[in-house]
């Protein structure tokens, strides 16, 4: 038998797990080297034993743990800590795990405000919410980061293959723009950033490198401040292939980056007025609200 693997989703949507399956036949090959001992989406291992009689959360020992989702409540925190105790290498899978992801938009409100707005009488006998949404590395040590919403199947395959060979893996510190084939002229065609209410200008029969840069067309695209990696082996970033601007789902290019500041610079460098960009704070932190990037604003 090969390396033992634990896979778990926390404050998540199961999209990352489907991305694992999107490896297709590569996944079948990978399975020859790995033994999954825990993976709620696909296999039946339970924390309190198979007949439900255990008294504490137990997760099997593993060489590699793959965890998707952020940490929202006490139960998820406990499960993550148990996984960390039992594994040698921990992979944070997906942008929820690496940076909080979309669910960390919740960090703009206090937990009480959210629960009281969703329920007239919030449920009590359920795992209690933590004060905010946390990325995995705010709770435990993370060894490998595979960001993306969802991550690209190729990146997951590459990361796992590297670990099987005893190597480590990370995405290069490049931006989506660095991996984008669109044509740039270094100046915007209009003065202000427009909301995405109409389609971009392009000829669908012509290749992507004959289409003008989305930002230069005056529309929102977070390519300059977003980590590259979503294109896998294809010819362009995923949203660009759909003729749509990037919204930052792979998170910042490097640790400690300041997307808010860097994006303002990117806009002004091509002569765009960013004052009209709606909902800027939530937009530029849409996938990275953990690590205290988003927090409740003081009441006016």
């Amino acid at each position: 038998m090969g390396l033992k693997v634990v896979e778990e989703f926390l404050n998540a949507c199961s999209g990352c797990e489907l991305s694992i399956l999107n490896m297709g036949e590569t996944w079948v090959d990978v399975l020859k080297e790995l033994e999954f001992v825990h993976m709620p989406l696909l296999i039946d291992n339970k924390y309190f034993g198979q007949t439900g009689e255990g008294t504490q959360i137990e997760i099997p020992e593993a060489d590699i743990a793959i965890v998707s989702g952020s940490v929202r409540n006490e139960e998820q925190k406990q499960v993550l800590e148990e996984i960390r105790k039992k594994c040698k290498i921990l992979i944070a899978l997906g942008t929820c795990a690496t940076n909080g992801g979309i669910p960390a938009l919740a960090n703009m409100w206090s937990k009480e405000e959210i629960l009281n707005s969703i329920y007239t009488n919030p449920p009590k006998d359920v795992p209690a919410w933590l004060d905010r949404v946390y990325a995995l590395d705010e709770i435990v040590k993370v060894d490998v980061y595979v960001p993306g919403c969802p991550p690209h199947a190729k990146n997951i395959a590459d990361a796992i293959t590297a670990l099987i060979k005893g190597e480590t893996w990370s995405l290069p510190e490049r931006s989506v723009c660095d991996s984008c084939p669109l044509k740039r002229e270094k100046k915007a065609s209009s003065g202000t950033v427009k909301r995405s209410l109409e389609n971009l200008e392009f000829d669908p029969e012509k290749p992507l490198d004959e289409m003008r840069c989305i930002m230069e067309q005056g529309f929102l695209c977070l390519g300059p401040v977003t980590k590259a990696g979503c294109r896998g082996d294809s010819d362009a970033p995923r949203c660009i292939r759909a003729r749509i601007g990037c919204r930052g789902c792979f998170g910042p290019i490097r640790k400690g980056a300041k997307p808010m500041v860097e994006m303002m610079t990117a806009w002004s460098s091509i002569g765009l007025n960013a004052q009209a960009v709606p909902d800027r704070r939530a937009l530029l932190n849409r996938f990275i609200g953990a690590h205290n990037n988003l927090r409740p604003l003081p009441k006016r």
């Binding site: 999209g15 036949e25 296999i43 039946d44 139960e75 006998d125 359920v126 995923r238």
Partner: protein, 443 residues
Amino acid sequence: MGKTLTFQPLTRIKTRTKMVINLDDNGNVTDAHMSMLNLRGFEQFCIGRPAEEMPRIVNRICGVCSCDHHLAANKAVEMAFGVSIPEAAKKLRRLMQHLAWIQNKILQFYFLTLPDFLITEPPRDIMALMKANSELALKAIKMRQLGAMLVEHFAGKVIHPIVVVPGGFSKPMTETEREELLKGAEELLEFAKWTMDFAKKEVFPKYSEIIEKLGVIKTSFIGMVDNGGNHEIYDGKLRLMKADGEIEEFNPEEYADYIAEDIQTWSYAKFPHAKKWGDFALEFDNPTIYRSNCLARINVCEKMPTALAQAELEEFREKFGRPCQYTLLYNYARLIELLCNAESAVEILKDKEITDQNVRAKFEIKEGRGVGCVETPQGTLIHDYEIDKNGFVTKINIIEGPDQNAAAINLSLKQAAKQVIKDGKYDETALNQIEMIIRAYAP
């Protein structure tokens, strides 16, 4: 002294849940329930977001039915703004939904369900299926992958798609894409036909005894229908059907007159129910409790929209009646729909008008309320938004597919638990039968 069994997490399902079973001194079931362990709070944190960005945010509610959330959000925004979309965009959306459902249904049937029927001893999972019948498992893995990659091919992304936009679609389909997709869709149709035959010969007949007994409850049903009362998943009316066949039909935007959501202290799920039909209580035979998703859809509809699926529906009704209350037959209904999805995808792709260049309508931001409703491979989905004059969301209510079955799942699992746990006797295989009932609903 009595005893409590805790099954956490429930497995081969797509949400974080646990099941608790309480036993009395003699080891018989006194109570059982399934709780949703997680809440993310989309209904709060989407407030303040620009309406046109909503389809790219709420698709993250569910990785499995992200396409359906994406569509529902667009429809809600379009209703609020008063936009009607070009014909080609409608075709592209329908195609995308059918293709997304195909790979979902393959996942649900082969990866999550079939191990329960084909593997006699634990572990029961896709890896075990690979050992027991590698040809079958590999075929399923390949076909699921094909379905997913067809969506990626013309839409950029299959999980959390971005290509549907308020007003239509972000790009037209080229003729080359159409031809390539058609080939893929035809292959999936052959696989759907094969799957239906295989399941009718090798799977369901061997389990007829437990199908007629395990987790069977009597409930109402909900599902979308078109103007003729036929099976519909993208745009139509909602139809409620009582166990005795009585029908109520309404436009999705009127849902609040028909449906209310209850709260239980032990779950983050909400419990939608047909408030028109009485007071809600989580009890057997309460007429307000309905079921949603595939079995419900094929129960409430008059006909399926495609030929092969319609023939299967007729055979199904001949055997099991209408409405059919056998919980495990969600798995059968799912395959009738799989066939319908594949037939529909092929049909749409044969229509050359899908490559029309006009795929997005022009519109202006205005204040209003919009309700977007679509079916999902987990149940009927409703997105309800209020939008201010600047195009920002001010209020949001979402009724999610899995929640639509929250009440029914709890009743069926309680019924199943009472059947499989007797006088303190149970083992992993018996307990798994309770989870088979939960999995049938595909939460």
